[in-house]
C-alpha cells in the first residue's frame, strides 16, 4: 500500500471502520513509513484530546423534569417520580441481563477450556458493572487513590496506570469475582464507552498474549505479564481497545 492510499484510509483506520484486509495493509504501511506514522500519531493525539470530559456538555439537571412535565401525563406521581425513572432505566438492563445469562449458560458446556469459562464470567462482570450503578467501588481518576484502595481487599496489588493523556481516563476501581477468586476491576472510559480491565495473579503460568477475542459483541484482549493476568473487556472497537492495551503495557 502506498502513502496516498494510506492517507485516504487513515481516518477510517483510526475510527476502526476498515475491513480486516485494509486494516492490516494500513498497519503494515505505518510500520515502515515515518511520514504516514506522523500523520497517524497526530490523529491519535487529536482524538485523545477530543475525549476530554470538558468537551461533553451534560444536560442541566432540571431539563429532564421540564421535558417530563411537557409530555402528556404518565402514571407517576411526584413521590414516585424519582424512583420511577430509576426503575424504568433498569428494565432494559434486567432484560439484557436475563438474555445474557441465557447466552452465558448456553455457552458453558462440558469440555470448554478454563479461559472460555473465565471470559464468559468476565463479560458478565463487565455487563453487570454497567447495571445497577455498580461501575466503581472507588471513584477516582487518581491512580494513587485507586491502588491503595485495593489493599486489604485483595491478596495481590494490581498495577494501576492512568491513561488520560492517551484519551482513556481512569474512572475508578471495583472488586469483582471471577474464576473462583476475587479480582481487581479497573474502570477506564473512552468517550461514552466503558472499559473494564480485570487483573489477577497468573497462578504460575508464564507471560503470554495479547490475544483478542469477541464474545457477545464485546471485544476482549487478554495477556499475562510479570505474574499478572489481564483481561480488557469493552464494547469499544478492536482498534481502539488495542491502543488502550498498548498504553497499559507501556
Amino acid at each position: 500500500m502506498n502513502c496516498q492510499t494510506t492517507k485516504d484510509l487513515l481516518n477510517a483506520y483510526s475510527d476502526g471502520e476498515l475491513d480486516v484486509v485494509n486494516h492490516l495493509a494500513v498497519e503494515e504501511h505505518l510500520g515502515s513509513c515515518p511520514a504516514c506514522s506522523l500523520v497517524y500519531e497526530n490523529q491519535k493525539t487529536l482524538k485523545a484530546a477530543m475525549a476530554d470530559d470538558s468537551l461533553y456538555f451534560k444536560a442541566p439537571s432540571d431539563l429532564r423534569d421540564r421535558i417530563r412535565q411537557s409530555l402528556p401525563k404518565s402514571s407517576g406521581t411526584d413521590s414516585s417520580r424519582a424512583s420511577g425513572i430509576w426503575i424504568w432505566r433498569l428494565v432494559p438492563a434486567f432484560a439484557a441481563f436475563a438474555l445474557i445469562a441465557v447466552l452465558v449458560l448456553s455457552f458453558i458446556r462440558p469440555g470448554q477450556s478454563n479461559d472460555d469459562v473465565l471470559a464468559s464470567e468476565l463479560v458478565s462482570g463487565h455487563v453487570r458493572s454497567m447495571m445497577a450503578n455498580h461501575l466503581t467501588d472507588v471513584l477516582s481518576s487518581d491512580q494513587h487513590t485507586v491502588k491503595p484502595w485495593f489493599e486489604g481487599k485483595l491478596d495481590f496489588s494490581p498495577p494501576v496506570v492512568d491513561l488520560a493523556g492517551s484519551g482513556f481516563p481512569l474512572v475508578g476501581g471495583r472488586l469483582d469475582y471471577a474464576g473462583s477468586r476475587p479480582v481487581a476491576a479497573l474502570v477506564y472510559k473512552r468517550q461514552q464507552h466503558v472499559i473494564n480491565l480485570f487483573v489477577f495473579p497468573s497462578d504460575g503460568s508464564s507471560d503470554s498474549g495479547p490475544t483478542t477475542s469477541v464474545r457477545q459483541g464485546f471485544n476482549l484482549i487478554h495477556w499475562s505479564r510479570s505474574g499478572m493476568t489481564f483481561w480488557a473487556v469493552s464494547d469499544l472497537n478492536l482498534q481502539e481497545l488495542q491502543e488502550f492495551v498498548q498504553g497499559i503495557q507501556k
Binding site: 481516518n11 475510527d15 487529536l46 461533553y56 421535558i67 401525563k73
Partner: protein, 174 residues
C-alpha cells in the same frame, strides 16, 4: 390508558439519551440557553413521532430529530444559510498534511474554540463521531448524507483542526 403507556415507554426509552441530545444541541447552537429550548422542542417532536420508532437505536433516532430541530431553529432564528457557509474551494488551501507532530497535551479550551469555529456541517459530524462515538453509518443516517460525504467531511474537519492546533503550538513556541 394507551397514552399513559406511550408516555411511560417514551420516558423509559428516549429520556435516558438526554445528555447526548443536549450535547449535540449545545454544539450545534453554541449556546446553553438555546440548546435547552431546542432539546425541549426536539423531545416534543420525538414524542409526536414516537409511533414511527421501531425500538432499536434510540439514541440515533433521537439525535436525528435533535439535529433537524437544530437546523430549523438556526434557520428561523439566525438566518443560517445552510448551503453556502462552507465553500469547498475557499478552504482547499488548508488541505495539506501537518508535517510536525502535535506535541504534548492539547489545551482543551483551545480545542473547544476551534471546534466552535468549524462550519456547522463539519462540526456535527465531528461531534457525533468523537463525542458520541457513533459509526460512520449511524452518522450518515442522522445527518442524511451519503457515507462518502461523512468520511470526507470528517477527514477535512480533522485536518483543519490539526492545522490550526499546529499553527497555535508553533506560534506559541516562537
Amino acid at each position: 390508558m394507551l397514552s399513559k403507556k406511550k408516555t411511560s415507554d417514551f420516558e423509559e426509552q428516549i429520556l435516558p439519551h438526554l445528555d447526548a441530545a443536549y450535547n449535540l444541541a449545545r454544539w450545534l447552537t453554541r449556546d446553553a440557553v438555546d440548546a435547552e429550548d431546542v432539546v425541549q422542542e426536539a423531545y416534543l417532536r420525538a414524542f409526536r413521532f414516537y409511533d414511527s420508532f421501531h425500538g432499536i437505536e434510540a439514541r440515533g433516532w433521537l439525535l436525528k430529530i435533535v439535529r433537524n430541530t437544530c437546523y430549523s431553529w438556526l434557520q428561523k432564528n439566525r438566518g443560517h444559510n445552510l448551503t453556502t457557509e462552507f465553500d469547498e474551494e475557499q478552504h482547499s488551501v488548508e488541505s495539506h498534511d501537518p508535517e510536525t507532530a502535535l506535541i504534548g497535551k492539547i489545551d482543551s479550551q483551545m480545542l473547544k474554540r476551534l471546534l466552535d469555529e468549524l462550519p456547522l456541517e463539519f462540526r456535527e459530524i465531528v461531534i457525533l463521531r468523537e463525542l458520541e462515538g457513533m459509526s460512520y453509518k449511524e452518522i450518515a443516517g442522522i445527518a442524511d448524507l451519503p457515507l462518502g460525504t461523512v468520511m470526507s467531511r470528517l477527514a477535512r474537519a480533522r485536518q483543519r483542526l490539526q492545522t490550526s492546533l499546529g499553527t497555535y503550538a508553533g506560534g506559541e513556541s516562537k
